[in-house]
């Protein structure tokens, strides 16, 4: 029993240490931003990798999220005879919650894991140490470009996701279920607000999620024990920690922004 308690205590202390280290790491990253401007090409390469290469999965998922949302809403709203509002509800729920959150979760799975695994393997194979020997700052060359790339890519990916979700909703609602095309758009434009929904909902949230996911991914990569098991664990931790952070942050942001 005593041992159990001390184990629990250890877990708490470990998690606190992790969070503290993560915060310090964020500071190092931000301080390294001016230095990493020299490696702007590296940032572009990372942006290509985490952003452009994620487009396919984001677009397909966005399409299906919009389609299934419209299908569900149509059936619920038809009880009240309010099917004409379903386009609007799809738009609002995608902009305010589903778009940023699902994109961030996909981003953590698609880009976050590979960032962690790549940096972890760099550590395991002593590439990071080699860089230091060659007087190349690994934070400015490896960490910051990936962090910045994630920060830039997330809002753009979220916009693409939302646009695809609207198209998916349109496809199911108008083409299949027979909601009037004009009603679909006019109800949506009447209720969606540029400031609260697009700027606060889509852009601000996704920017925050992008920062959190890429910070966790890069941090876990650098904190990896240099073994193959360590890399595997770190990759898992990236997904777990990112998911929790995204959903918790989403609640906080919604509470403050709405």
């Amino acid at each position: 029993m005593n041992q159990r308690i001390s184990q629990d205590k250890n877990v708490v202390i470990q998690s606190l240490t992790q969070i503290g280290n993560c915060g310090l790491f964020l500071l190092t990253l931000l301080v390294a931003v001016p230095r990493s401007l020299r490696y702007i090409r590296e940032t572009i390469r990372q942006l290509w990798f985490v952003g452009a290469m994620s487009l396919t999965i984001i677009m397909v998922c966005g399409l299906f999220v919009g389609m299934v949302l419209m299908l569900q809403l149509y059936h619920v709203l038809s009880i009240f005879g309010g099917t004409s509002a379903s386009g609007m509800v799809v738009a609002l729920s995608v902009y305010r919650e589903l778009g940023p959150v699902v994109t961030a979760l996909l981003f953590a799975g698609r880009a976050g894991t590979s960032i962690t695994a790549e940096i972890g393997l760099m550590r395991a194979t002593d590439q990071i140490d080699a860089m230091e020997l060659m007087a190349v700052d690994p934070i400015a060359y490896v960490a910051t470009p990936r962090f910045l790339a994630g920060l830039i890519a997330m809002p753009l990916l979220t916009c693409v996701f939302c646009a695809m979700a609207i198209l998916g909703g349109h496809l199911v609602g108008v083409t299949w279920l027979g909601i009037d095309n004009g009603t679909f758009w006019s109800n949506m434009t009447a209720q969606v607000d540029l400031h609260t929904d697009i700027v606060n909902g889509v852009l601000l949230k996704s920017l925050a999620f992008g920062a959190v996911v890429s910070l966790i991914a890069v941090f876990q990569g650098f904190a990896t024990p240099p073994t193959s098991e360590g890399v595997a664990r770190a990759t898992t931790r990236t997904v777990v920690a990112s998911s929790i952070a995204i959903l918790a942050l989403d609640f906080v942001l919604t509470a403050f922004l709405m």
Partner: protein, 291 residues
């Protein structure tokens, strides 16, 4: 190597352009850009006795066409009318001074907006001017209240005394529902119990001590606020000289009216005993059962 790099750069550039294109699509095609972006406009004041659910940036319409939006809603301390500032597009600068600003509801349950009905004056309102003629928001509760004699707003409650009443049907009345007299909340429902002997509902009402002059032959009725709103108890004062006291019973009660029953009454011209009227309404005046 540089070939490789430039292909990354091109792809990344495409990605960024694509992302911004999606953002532009979201912003222009799915939002009411007009809500934020406005051309030159001028401001007109209007005072309303009741703004209902009117919100900032609600549309201002003439003949049903959007010409501007509500800029701000404020209530000056010491005044009993709300000061609503309307920002109207410069193009519509010939609104007669005696035009009437009315708060309308789009549809039965929709958002509220301000409709301006043109007057006949030769003078027009200018920037900073005031539309003197206004009609406040028609509350659905008020409208139904005219039919049913109920509706109003809640009030702060101080000390209370309790009376109780029997209803054959309380509908979906819940504990905590308001008790209203003349549409004003004077108390709340304290408890609802089914009587095991008389097989009806015994409802205990907690009424504010300030209202201790309610005649003891007043009647209590279960009403619905709005069409699909919550239910409340309405007290209709009687004429007795004696007032209700703590623990008294209100003898005269009227049970909850079910919307189905009401519609049924219309459809079958008042044969209230037919509880299935709503369903059979259409066929009941032809041959029953032939359907």
């Amino acid at each position: 190597m540089s070939q490789q790099r430039s292909s990354y750069a091109v792809g990344t550039g495409l990605f960024i352009v694509f992302g911004f294109a999606a953002l532009a699509y979201l912003a222009t095609q799915t939002t009411s850009i007009a809500n934020v972006h406005q051309g030159a406009s001028y401001t007109v004041d209007a005072h309303f006795a009741n703004i209902g659910q009117l919100k900032d940036r609600a549309p201002v319409k003439i003949a049903g066409v959007r010409v501007g939006q509500v800029q701000s809603i404020s209530l000056e301390p010491g005044q009993e009318v709300a000061d609503v500032k309307l920002s109207i597009d410069k193009r519509y600068d010939r609104i007669p001074l005696d035009s009437v600003a009315t708060i309308f509801t789009s549809g039965l349950l929709g958002d509220q907006y301000i409709g301006i009905e043109y007057g006949s004056s030769k003078k027009t309102v200018t920037d900073g001017g005031t539309l003197a003629l206004t009609k406040p928001a028609q509350q659905l509760e008020d409208m139904l209240g005219k039919f049913f004699g109920a509706g109003g707003v809640a009030d702060n409650l101080g000390g209370t005394y309790t009376v109780w009443a029997r209803f054959t049907n309380v509908g979906s009345l819940s504990v905590g529902a308001p008790v209203k007299m003349a549409g004003v909340a004077i108390g709340s429902v304290q408890s609802i119990q089914a009587d095991p002997v008389k097989l009806d509902a015994k409802v205990t009402l907690a009424i504010d001590k300030r209202y201790n002059q309610i005649p003891d032959d007043s009647s209590a009725a279960v009403f619905t606020s709005g069409l699909i709103g919550t239910q409340f108890v309405a007290i209709q004062p009687g004429g007795s000289p004696d007032a209700l006291k703590n623990g008294d019973e209100m003898i005269l009660t009227q049970s909850a009216m079910q919307l189905e029953d009401l519609i049924g009454k219309f459809l079958v011209n008042g044969s209230s005993s037919d509880s299935k009227a709503a369903g059979n309404g259409k066929s009941s005046d032809t041959t029953p059962g032939k359907h």
